[in-house]
Symmetry: C2
Subunit: 425 residues, 2 copies
């Protein structure tokens, strides 16, 4: 059988099959698993990219019924039960589909060209490099208006990623960057833009209100009820109620929309307009009992409510798909998925987070401790956990960031001096 | 005054000027200083790239007479005493020139196109990505000869970098990669090629012989007295004595030659054929008393011998240039540089190194301990030191590598799903 995607859904499914009498081929285009809940910290230069990634082969080492395939999937032929990859064709009897989601621009003009998505490790590195480079650029701009635009960071989307990224960015700017760029005094700004009338709509209203107050106290400008109409080089067009206006800013981070990995629909599976696949309660894809969809690609309902796109839902869904495949192998009927809600968390900054847990709301330091504990426990692999903890501890004590190196990103090919114009020094 | 280059030479010069009554502009094309002696460990996926880099602004934070300029140098006008950069023109009264060296292909055909240099952090990342990707590629190659070529790593140059990289690569292959790729059994090989008749020619003969024995015991094939005549895709042409032959191998790492940063010569400074600048004993550039050359770009002689290209020489040279600039400001004549030899070290692997210290030779575990201590002490910045130590300790205890993530490198621009063909998963 085949598992597509080594994110939380696919990886947890593959691992849960370790005792099943099946050969599992796990396919991912990256050779590593990414701990996406902390990606925003890579974007804000708070964590080194390596701290949230771990080689898939190392994670599944020792699982004898599993082989990992480092390849892109080109097509899934659901009729012939074949997965076509850049590295050969793989037949399956059962398929777990967990390719996740990708950033979605809602067809707003200019988003694709000018805004940074934050969905992959590469996205995180690119955004981080761009942010750090803005500060160097600002040092050489005499015009105060242009300087302010260079140093204005516009974040679109007030969900957990937008809120967490806004908080982390604000701390980066007011902490270590202020020390490294004493010439830039209070000119950098963070604007968080959300179409709804409050932040964190997936959480109870008081938590969204707390996040807003807290972010504003950290200097973040929060604009609610504001639609982004277009993104251009150096500015965005917004609309609040009836009035449209522009905000100048060289950096636009896009956390507003995601859609199912676009290929899924083109493989003849019943994907919705947003590319996600509506599953049965058993996680099976209608019309293809041997195909299970888990993680963010899957739109699964329980008691009439669609389950949220969360790491927890993906992990539990992956394990449940494995259970149902095991049952099918024993000729037992599949059972419906039941999500065990472990709560919702979002961190805003130093000592500040919001949490919904066991029917209760938490804010401030207690929520932050909860968030810290949960993320450390769930980070895969002890070594990474330790490195992350170390970074955090350092950050916490010294208000310092360790990941501010601007690596010039290039393709992984030989590069020789003189291949492009370059000065000495 | 201006310092070009934030390597060991330039950075140490700039820092040593902290009490001088001068305004120092330190220029580098990167926003970080790289601890180059450990670059080979990045190439061998032994250290995370960030562990050997640190932001220049953080290093020089608090030095009030210093400003850092993140820019490429386009030209130095030694007559008008102007430094032209991508971000403006800077006048100087004194100039410290420390742009270092770049890889040099000796005009051997194909080297530039097919071999990986190992001189910058980018080089290290590119080489490391290439090495890791070979293992994934080999998993899908049925032909045993092609598999062997995919997994053959050819290292040109038996100096410290070549020896250290060969040792680290061999340990990577025989340690963690063997665990992650159990299907590849003993098919990977490392070949170290040196034109001279022994390794480590800068060290006494017994140390070179020890390094060779030790590498061979680790499975590295050492070819001495062997010239590389050409490099092509997937193979190199070599000549040993009268007989020429080919070795198939997808990876060629080039550590054989360096030359002075090529711009220096074109700026009207007296650079030799290898781009390095012959200095006076005072580190001044002949004909330009106000220009000091330090680090690898400088060819400085003491007692008739040219000083080696070492971090120690660069650091001490940088500090000495600062001393002579201080003297010039007080109308005192410059004094000649005297290098305090702190020894030479090269590490081969776990518990194995060679060292020349205070006129004595050391090998094996004692030399390895020396190497470890020296490198930790000299690594700039406590945090990095700690991270490096942690990685090493982990490696040592668990025979593990932490840096095996294959980050798809791209330019730091927004990238949206669908911008290029990509499969799901």
């Amino acid at each position: 059988m085949v598992v597509i995607g080594a994110g939380f859904g696919g990886l947890w499914a593959a691992r849960a099959l370790h005792r099943a009498k099946v050969d599992v081929t796990l396919i991912d285009r990256n050779n590593f698993h990414t701990f996406l809940p902390l990606l925003y910290q890579v974007g804000a230069a708070e964590l080194e990219p390596f701290a949230i990634a771990r080689p898939v082969r190392t994670i599944v080492r020792g699982q004898e019924n599993l082989q990992f395939l480092h390849a892109s999937v080109r097509n899934v032929d659901v009729d012939r039960k074949l997965v076509h990859t850049a590295r050969g064709v793989y037949a399956y009897d059962y398929l777990v589909l967990a390719p996740g989601t990708v950033a979605w621009d809602f067809a707003i003009p200019g988003v694709r060209e000018h805004a940074f998505p934050l969905k992959t490790l590469e996205d995180g590195i690119a955004l981080r490099s761009h942010v750090l480079a803005r500060f160097e650029a600002a040092m050489h701009e005499p015009d105060p208006d242009r300087r302010a635009a260079i140093l204005r960071f516009l974040i679109i989307g007030g969900g957990p990623t937008g809120v967490e990224f806004a908080g982390a960015l604000s701390e980066l700017i007011r902490g270590p960057l202020r020390k490294d760029y004493p010439a830039i005094r209070g000119e950098a700004s963070v604007v968080l833009i959300e179409a709804a009338d409050r932040l964190l709509t997936a959480l109870p209203e008081p938590l969204g209100a707390y996040a807003r107050r807290r972010l504003e106290r950290m200097g973040v400008e929060v604009r609610l009820g504001t639609l982004v109409e277009r993104v251009a080089a150096g500015q965005i067009g917004i609309r609040t109620g009836e009035s449209g206006s522009e905000i100048a800013g060289d950096t636009v981070a896009w956390t507003a929309g995601v859609r199912g990995a676009p290929e899924a629909g083109s493989w003849g599976l019943p994907a919705g307009r947003d590319g996600r696949i509506e599953t049965r309660p058993t996680l099976q894809v209608p019309g293809h009992d041997e195909v299970f969809a888990v993680g963010d690609i899957a739109r699964t309902s329980e008691d009439g409510e669609t389950l949220p796109m969360l790491a927890q839902v993906a992990m539990q869904g992956g394990e449940h798909a494995a259970v149902n495949i095991g049952r099918a192998l024993r000729d037992e009927p599949p059972i419906p998925f039941h999500y065990r809600d472990k709560g919702l968390l979002a961190v805003i900054g130093r000592n500040a987070a919001v949490a919904r847990l066991a029917g209760r709301n938490f804010t401030g330091f207690p929520a932050w401790l909860l968030w810290l504990g949960v993320h450390i426990v769930y980070l895969i692999g002890f070594r990474n956990r330790f490195a992350v903890l170390l970074n955090w501890a350092w950050d916490y004590v010294f208000f310092e960031r360790v990941a501010r190196i601007l690596i010039p990103l290039r393709l992984a090919t030989p590069r020789w001096p003189g291949d492009e114009p370059d000065g000495g020094g």
